[in-house]
């Protein structure tokens, strides 16, 4: 059982310096992802989803905590070893306009990681054609430049580049939020297909709960740098225990929805000066004096964990 865990993060924290104090972007987050699984990170802007994604890839240094990928603690690797290890973990970015070098042809965008890892020229051209077919890029367009491509096609190039080195873990940071719905659906189906065929493991960062429902096996909800709730997609969507999760689900515009719904009041508190105790308490209708005292720990069973002193029961959590 423990063996099929691909990546395990323990007690990760990261604080950024800001002009007026410091921002606790990620506070004491632990989670693990199994091989071949998609774990989604959801939450609103500034909740630390992207920072956590980057910490897992060690693109930024954590203040404390560790990340173990397939038995190797990547937070302990030196520069050279880390560089060699990077081929196991890749990233797909949100903005397909900004994440491709405008002066590279599409073929050289895709082959850059292959060159960086010293593959021979023949093997590279072979692999680029293979990747183009896998990701639905027309072979005849490989000599073109990114600006000649639409957003959806560019994202295919970004995906081809990310899987070029047969990575184990791919962190997808809002990969479809810049795309139109018809293109978004194509891209999500491509990501699923690749996962089935190549056995990829995804950390899927998104604020769109519909997209997450479609692609994720498990979901982790974050609020202001902390994990509120984590569980299977089924558990989190249909039996949410944390009030924040329930409000997020209720707030999502739905086809056939409408009418009055319960809304969260107020704004997201500033991460520079987060509320004491439970960070959600200033927006939470159930908050009492106890919530201001201490941050609740994550607890629960059957892999469904939540950090709340007033968890919803099944009746309340129904939408």
């Amino acid at each position: 059982m423990a063996n099929d865990i691909l990546i395990e993060a323990s007690h990760l924290s990261k604080t950024f310096k800001a002009p007026k104090g410091s921002v606790q972007a990620v506070t004491d987050v632990s989670l693990s992802i199994r091989k071949g699984e998609t774990l989604a990170l959801v939450g609103e802007s500034g909740c630390g989803k992207s920072t956590l994604g980057r910490l897992l890839l060690r693109l930024i240094e954590p203040d404390s905590g560790s990340v173990v990928l397939d038995g190797t603690d990547i937070t302990k690797l030196n520069r050279r070893d880390l560089r060699a290890f990077r081929k196991h973990m890749q990233l797909i970015f949100q903005d397909p306009y900004a994440s491709l070098d405008p002066r590279f042809t599409v073929a050289s965008c895709i082959s850059e990681p292959l060159r960086a890892y010293g593959m021979s020229r023949n093997d590279i051209s072979q692999r680029v054609l293979e990747l183009a077919d896998l990701c639905g890029i027309n072979r005849e367009h490989l000599g073109r430049y990114p600006h000649q491509f639409s957003g959806g096609q560019r994202q295919r190039v970004g995906i081809a580049r990310a899987i070029a080195l047969h990575p184990d873990l791919v962190v997808c940071d809002e990969p479809v939020s810049a795309l139109d719905v018809s293109i978004q659906a194509q891209t999500l189906n491509l990501l699923k297909e690749l996962q089935d065929n190549l056995g990829l493991t995804y950390l899927f960062i998104s604020h769109d709960l519909g997209v997450v429902h479609y692609i994720a096996d498990r979901v982790c909800v974050m609020f202001l740098g902390r994990v509120c709730e984590i569980g299977t997609t089924e558990q989190v969507y249909y039996h949410p225990r944390h009030p924040y999760t329930r409000y997020l689900l209720a707030a999502t515009p739905k086809i056939g929805g409408g009418g009055e719904k319960e809304l969260l009041t107020g704004e997201i508190p500033s991460p520079v000066n987060p509320p004491s105790g439970c960070r959600f308490r200033t927006r939470c209708p159930f908050a009492d004096a106890k919530c201001a005292e201490a941050m609740p720990e994550l607890e629960g069973r059957d892999g469904h964990l939540f950090a709340c002193c007033h968890p919803l029961d099944d009746k309340e959590s129904a939408l």
């Binding site: 659906a185 999500l188 429902h213 479609y214 409000y247 707030a251 515009p253 086809i255």
Partner: protein
């Protein structure tokens, strides 16, 4: 016949660039009855925003109305001079934009910016104007309205900035509010608050809303009627409930099925193959034919009309032509 608040008749908008002409909007007809919320949906580049800008008289240089007319309250505003248009915009018709940060002036206090609308359209003294702004801030649920009057846009969160924009748009109680993707830049819990606010304002101020969005969930929750646009044309129009219960056009069906939802039963997402062609390569015949699974030879030859399949339910597709019979030449 026309008791609409806004009536767009046979509108054509042309973009001229480098000696070429492109038709961004093609023979568009749109009616907004009083006291209603009408949705205009479609993907990037389908001409939604350019339609809104035509109504406002804010088309960019090189873009012009090349046919048809726009009637507002019976007046042909599409033939107004810029000076005449300034009397209408901000007072009877106003607009809110997608990105509230770029829609506000970064170096002017937000209260002053909202007050400017009153300065231009009324003769009220300063003290009264200020009171009206503060009251409007309260009406759109901006907390600490007096203090926020003096704030600069960068001091406000995205949700508050959008509330300021809405206050600015609503302060003279316009008859028509055009909202161009007003919540796309906001988080979902804030988005839900803004949508609720718009719904309340519609009730309290009796303002009609033209809601431009790509989010079908928003359309479903807010709009009375929907117009689906594809490549500069309306391809389907009906009451909201009808569109979602029985979409007729293959593009509308594709759009609805490609939205991932949080409902339990979910299969593989259907998708529409290919992508929206650019305006230089508009297909002859039906503009959607290259991406349509049900296209026939006729679709690539002839351009379909907007057929009224059921009373009030229009669709631009040969599958539903004149007699309401499904026609298809060749299997």
């Amino acid at each position: 016949m026309t008791n609409s608040l806004l009536s767009i008749q046979d509108l054509k908008v042309t973009i001229r660039s480098k000696g070429m002409e492109m038709h961004a909007v093609n023979s568009l007809n749109l009616e907004i009855p009083p006291h209603s919320v009408v949705g205009l949906v479609g993907e990037s580049g389908c001409g939604k925003s350019i339609t809104a800008m035509s109504i406002m008289g804010l088309l960019a240089p090189g873009v012009s109305i090349s046919g048809g007319r726009i009637l507002f309250d019976g007046e042909e505003i599409s033939s107004y001079t810029p000076a005449q248009m300034r009397q209408v915009v901000g007072k009877s018709i106003s607009m809110i934009f997608q990105e509230p940060m770029t829609a506000l002036n970064p170096v002017t206090r937000v209260g002053k910016q909202v007050e400017e609308v009153l300065k231009l359209h009324t003769n009220l003294p300063h003290a009264e104007r200020k009171k009206m702004v503060v009251d409007m801030f309260k009406a759109v649920s901006i907390p600490d309205a007096e203090d926020r009057y003096k704030a600069y846009p960068f001091q406000l969160s995205g949700g508050l900035r959008q509330r300021v924009c809405i206050a600015m748009a609503m302060i003279l109680n316009p008859k028509l509010l055009i909202a161009d993707e007003p919540t796309t830049a906001l988080d979902v819990t804030i988005e839900a608050q803004i949508l609720k606010l718009m719904r309340d304002l519609k009730h309290n101020y009796d303002t009609s809303i033209l809601m431009i969005t790509h989010n079908l969930g928003i359309v479903s929750e807010l709009c009375d009627a929907v117009n689906v646009m594809y490549l500069g044309e309306i391809v389907e129009r009906a009451e909201t409930q009808r569109i979602f219960d029985s979409p007729l056009h293959p593009y509308t069906q594709g759009l609805i099925h490609s939205v991932p939802t949080i409902e339990p039963e979910i299969q593989k997402l259907e998708n529409i193959p290919g992508m929206v062609p650019d305006l230089m390569h508009v297909p002859e015949g039906c503009r959607f034919c290259e991406r349509c699974a049900r296209a026939t030879a006729r679709c690539s030859r002839e351009h379909p009309e907007l057929y009224e399949r059921e009373p009030g339910h229009f669709v631009r597709c040969f599958l539903y032509d004149a007699k309401g019979e499904v026609s298809g030449d060749g299997e």
